[in-house]
Every structure is written in structure tokens, then in C-alpha cells.
């Protein structure tokens, strides 16, 4: 082709073009390196951990007491139990609220109301979790729960769970709303044409059609709840406990990592390796949840022309 292009304008005479391309590629590649770094860092120390503690003890043990010298016990189940307890409370709080908000924003609210409410949700999503932790301890526990729930401790799973729920409301609400708004208008109009009312259309047409997106949003919210750190570190206490009582103080995997990091952990010590082993467990759990959520979206999405 390019007989007409003067030689000095040809690509190979413009080294800048190629250099720029490689620099930009390096930037994008760095994100892949980040993932590789996470996996390698976690795996490296975890392998070291499992040389000292058997996986059977770690995953099967029911007592978490890593700080007792020779009498230490490394059963991670109490930490997983605490993590799941808080995350479940969070989801129980956030799913009805988030879905209610999503249906309202997608099906009922006039666009003017939407424009006011959406930034509000973004604002809630932007509150640092350390602030939410302060709120959980000083308001939810001290003002609300201590006056309503008998025998509740100052540190308890319930307050942390409720506030974790508040934290994931924006995630669930806005992702579900996106899924509902993606349902084609023709489906709604068809239902209206058959005589359905607004509520039936919302609950029996739009919600089922958007179900894959809603489920993905809930799973993503659950994953965020599992990985949440500061709320539980502040409000849930630091007591590894294998019981499903929301009034009790518990410890989550994340709170354990914080507790150890606050002290001085000499690198190479067993305590240092323990936080990586717990971190790996957490990473694998959230990775699976994120993957499932992603799969649900791409697999079960109803495709309308």
C-alpha cells in the first residue's frame, strides 16, 4: 500500500509511538503482577505455616489459641464461624433493605427522586469503615442494643453484623437496580397489556427477569461482608468463639489479622505466618464468592435481543 507516504512519516521512524505503547502495556500488566504478587505472597508464607502446623489441625481444629507457646492451638474454625456469623447478619439486614431500595429506584421513583437518592447511596458507600465501626460501638451497641437486647455484651457480633449490613446496602441496591433497569421495557409493557398492576410487574416480571443480577449483587455483598475489617475489629470484640450467638463477642479472620498486626510481629515468627495463613483462607473464600457471582451474571443472564 503506502507508496504515497513519505518515508519520514512511517511508523518505524517514529520510535515514540512504540515506546508509548510499551509503557501503556506495562501499566496494564502491572495489575496482573499485583494479582500474582498477592497469590505468591500469601502462598509463600502459608506453605511455611503448614510446615509447622498440619492442615488437618488448621481446618479441623475447634480451638483458636495461637499465642500460647507450646500449648498453642491453631484451629481456624472459630474465626470462620465468627466471620460467617457477622456476614450472615449483614446479609439478612442488607438484602431486604437493598432490594426494597432497588425496586423503588428502578420501578417506582420518578427520575427527579432518583437523582437525589443515588448520590445519597454513594455517600453511604463512601463512609470509611472505621467511622462505621465507631457508629457500631457507640450508637448501635451502647444506645440501641444495650437498651433492647438482654444480656448483650459491650462487644458483640450483632452490632457489627448490623453495621456491616448497612455498609453493603449500597452495593446490593445499586447493582440490583442496574440489573432491573436492564430488563427491557417490552416485558413490562407486555405485562401491563395483560392487565397486571405495577406491583405485579415489579415482583413477578422485573424481579424474576433480573434475578441473576440480583443474586450476583447479593453474593458480592456477602463477599464484601466477609472481607470487612474495621467494623468487626472495633465492635465485635476479639474472642475466638465457636458458637452462633449474636450477643457474644467473637473474632473474625480479619479482626485477628488486625489484632496481630497491632503488636510487633517479628518476621518469620509463627504469629507472622499465621496471619498469612488466615489471610489465604480469607482470600480463597472471597475469590470463590466473586467468581461465583461473576459466573452467575455471565451464565444465567437472560439475553433479550
Amino acid at each position: 500500500m503506502g507508496g504515497g507516504v513519505p518515508g519520514e512519516l512511517r511508523g518505524r521512524r517514529r520510535p515514540l509511538e512504540r515506546i508509548v505503547k510499551w509503557i501503556l502495556f506495562a501499566c496494564a500488566g502491572l495489575t496482573v503482577l499485583t494479582t500474582a504478587g498477592i497469590v505468591l505472597a500469601l502462598a509463600g508464607e502459608t506453605v511455611g505455616f503448614f510446615r509447622e502446623v498440619s492442615p488437618a489441625e488448621f481446618f479441623g481444629g475447634t480451638k483458636w489459641a495461637p499465642d500460647f507457646g507450646a500449648r498453642s492451638s491453631f484451629g481456624v474454625l472459630p474465626l470462620i464461624n465468627g466471620t460467617l456469623l457477622v456476614a450472615l447478619i449483614g446479609v439478612v439486614v442488607a438484602v431486604p433493605l437493598g432490594l426494597g431500595i432497588a425496586i423503588f429506584l428502578s420501578e417506582y421513583a420518578p427520575s427527579r427522586v432518583r437523582r437525589i437518592l443515588k448520590p445519597f447511596l454513594e455517600l453511604l458507600a463512601g463512609i470509611p469503615t472505621v467511622v462505621l465501626g465507631f457508629f457500631a460501638l457507640n450508637f448501635i451497641t451502647k444506645v440501641l442494643l444495650r437498651n433492647t437486647v438482654p444480656d448483650i455484651g459491650i462487644f458483640n457480633a450483632l452490632s457489627a453484623g448490623i453495621v456491616v449490613g448497612i455498609m453493603i446496602i449500597p452495593t446490593i441496591a445499586s447493582l440490583s437496580e442496574d440489573a432491573m433497569r436492564a430488563v427491557p421495557q417490552g416485558l413490562r409493557e407486555g405485562a401491563y397489556g395483560l392487565g397486571a398492576g405495577k406491583r405485579s410487574v415489579a415482583l413477578k416480571v422485573v424481579l424474576p427477569a433480573a434475578l441473576s443480577g440480583v443474586m450476583a449483587a447479593v453474593i458480592l455483598g456477602f463477599a464484601r461482608a466477609i472481607g470487612e475489617t474495621m467494623i468487626v475489629a472495633i465492635a465485635a470484640g476479639n474472642r475466638p468463639l465457636l458458637a452462633f450467638d449474636p450477643r457474644e463477642a467473637i473474632q473474625t479472620m480479619t479482626a485477628y489479622i488486625v489484632q496481630v498486626s497491632l503488636g510487633d510481629t517479628p518476621t518469620g515468627s509463627i504469629a507472622y505466618r499465621t496471619i498469612f495463613a488466615v489471610g489465604s483462607t480469607l482470600f480463597v473464600m472471597t475469590f470463590i464468592l466473586n467468581y461465583v457471582s461473576h459466573r452467575i451474571v455471565s451464565r444465567f443472564r437472560e439475553v433479550y435481543d
Partner: protein, 297 residues
């Protein structure tokens, strides 16, 4: 061929069922209103709770003092400076890299395995809990690269954490630039980089700005990764360089919140007020930039 249509009582006309339906409709609407109310009320309660407790404690001394064993004398000076330092490092690292990655993915890479790998990877990184980034920072920046538990290590850790935010927002704003602008520039003989740097980027810039501001405000509020990579919790000096140790505002707040004395809760609330005011201001700027410079094509 005559089709006989069975006469049947109309549902819509039956007054009892109609009343029942209206009742159910109202009930459903009030349930949604309740959900909205609880969501909004918890945010408002949080803000009121914190501001009522914290604002009376605010003073110039509070902003300019070092922490203390005595709640009434404690201040946030080192935390404020520490936050400024790590946010600067974080921004200097994540903004160029994030913009570069977004440009590569939108303008340069061809659809294929490599692009899908990078895309899936960024989506996945956005879902990794922040505390895991702390472990990454601890293993890579603090130990492997031997930066120590310094401003540099903390800033880079947060930089990696917010990178997906910048890339995702940046890609969207590049995608919103209409192809006709690129085609016109190519038609005039511009090279790829000339098109990207002089035509696409100026148009996409406001979108990048909102993404960057949101990323920075996220970094400003992050606590867990910094604690995990070993930031200090009680500091009586202001960092003077990138290799100094540091604390940050959210860590200082966490430190005060986890003390049993109620005076320290008040001090924590005052710290939160400062943090929230800064964050709200940044969010307001982001919204302003978005509305002011957004162009419809």
C-alpha cells in the same frame, strides 16, 4: 366455527378483591418506603451522632497537637501529616499507572486472550478485601523491597488498592469519547499517540478526574491495609520523608475508638468529623467536576 366464550365474573370489577389489591399495593409501597427510610436514617443518625459528639471538641489545638495519654490534650497533627504523605505517594503512583492501563485497554489492546485476562484480573482485584492488600504490602514492599514500614510502603500499598477504581472509571470515560473525533484526527494524518494524547484524553479528562478523586477519598479512609503493613498507632513525630514511619488519620481514630475511656470516644468523634469533612469536600468536588464538564455527544 363459533367459539363460545365462557362468561366469567370480571376480577377487576369485584369490589372486595379490588380493595384487597389496593391494600396490598399500598403495603408494598410502604415497605419500600420503610427500606429507604432505614437506609437514609442510618446515614443521618451516624452523621448526627458523630458531629454532636465531635464538633465541640474541635479546635485549632486539636488539629495541631500530638496525641497524648490525656484525651483532652490529644491531637491529630502527626496523623494528618501522615495521611497527606501517604496520599501523595499513593496518587503519584496510582494516577499515571491507572491512566496508562485504561488507555492501553481502550485504545491499544486488541480483543483476545490477553485483553480478557487483564480485564478479568482487574474485576477480580476490585473484589479483593483491602486487608489482603495490607498483607501484600507487608510481604512485598516492607520485606522484599525493604522499604520498611514507611510512608513509601504504605502509599504504594494504597496505590495498588485504588488502581482498579481509576482504571474502571477511566475506561468508561474513554469509551464515552465518540469515535468520530478519533477518525477525524486520523484522517488529518495524526498518529495513534497524537490522537490519544491530543484528542481523546482532553475530552476524557473530567471522567478521569472524578475517578481519581473517588480513588483518593477511598485511600484516605482506608485503615486495615495500613495497620496490617505495620503503620504505627501512636506517633509523636511528623514524618519528614518517604522512608519515615507514620500513622494516618483513620488509624488514629481507630486507636482512640478502641480505648475504653469515654473521653477518648469524644476525641475519636472529633477526628472523624475532620476526616468526614475532608471526604465530603472531595466528593462534592467530584460531583461538581462531573456535572460541570460532562459533555453529551
Amino acid at each position: 366455527m363459533a367459539v363460545r366464550i365462557e362468561p366469567r365474573p370480571s376480577i377487576a370489577v369485584d369490589p372486595a378483591s379490588r380493595a384487597r389489591r389496593i391494600r396490598k399495593d399500598r403495603f408494598f409501597v410502604s415497605l419500600m418506603a420503610l427500606a429507604l427510610f432505614v437506609g437514609v436514617a442510618s446515614l443521618v443518625t451516624l452523621l448526627v451522632d458523630v458531629f454532636v459528639a465531635g464538633v465541640p471538641r474541635l479546635s485549632w489545638d486539636f488539629v495541631n497537637s500530638f496525641p497524648s495519654r490525656f484525651a483532652e490534650r490529644a491531637g491529630i497533627r502527626p496523623a494528618l501529616y501522615g495521611s497527606l504523605w501517604i496520599i501523595s505517594v499513593c496518587t503519584l503512583f496510582s494516577v499515571p499507572v491507572g491512566i496508562g492501563a485504561a488507555i492501553y485497554l481502550e485504545e491499544y489492546s486488541k480483543p483476545g486472550r490477553l485483553q480478557r485476562l487483564i480485564e478479568v484480573n482487574i474485576a477480580n482485584l476490585a473484589g479483593v478485601p483491602s486487608i489482603i492488600y495490607g498483607l501484600l504490602g507487608l510481604a512485598v514492599f516492607v520485606r522484599l523491597l525493604a522499604f520498611g514500614r514507611s510512608v513509601l510502603a504504605g502509599g504504594l500499598t494504597l496505590g495498588l488498592l485504588v488502581l482498579p477504581v481509576i482504571v474502571i472509571a477511566g475506561r468508561e470515560s474513554i469509551r464515552a469519547v465518540p469515535p468520530s473525533i478519533r477518525e477525524a484526527a486520523y484522517a488529518l494524518g495524526a498518529t495513534k499517540w497524537q490522537v490519544v494524547s491530543r484528542q481523546v484524553m482532553p475530552v476524557a479528562l473530567p471522567g478521569f478526574m472524578t475517578g481519581i478523586i473517588l480513588a483518593v477519598s477511598r485511600a484516605l479512609g482506608e485503615t486495615a491495609p495500613l495497620i496490617t503493613m505495620g503503620a504505627l498507632t501512636y506517633v509523636t513525630f511528623v514524618p519528614g520523608g518517604v522512608l519515615d514511619r507514620f500513622t494516618a488519620l483513620p488509624i488514629q481514630i481507630f486507636n482512640w475508638t478502641s480505648r475504653p475511656q469515654s473521653e477518648f470516644q469524644v476525641t475519636a468523634a472529633a477526628g472523624i468529623v475532620v476526616l468526614l469533612v475532608v471526604l465530603l469536600a472531595m466528593n462534592a468536588i467530584a460531583i461538581f467536576v462531573r456535572n460541570r464538564f460532562e459533555r453529551k455527544w
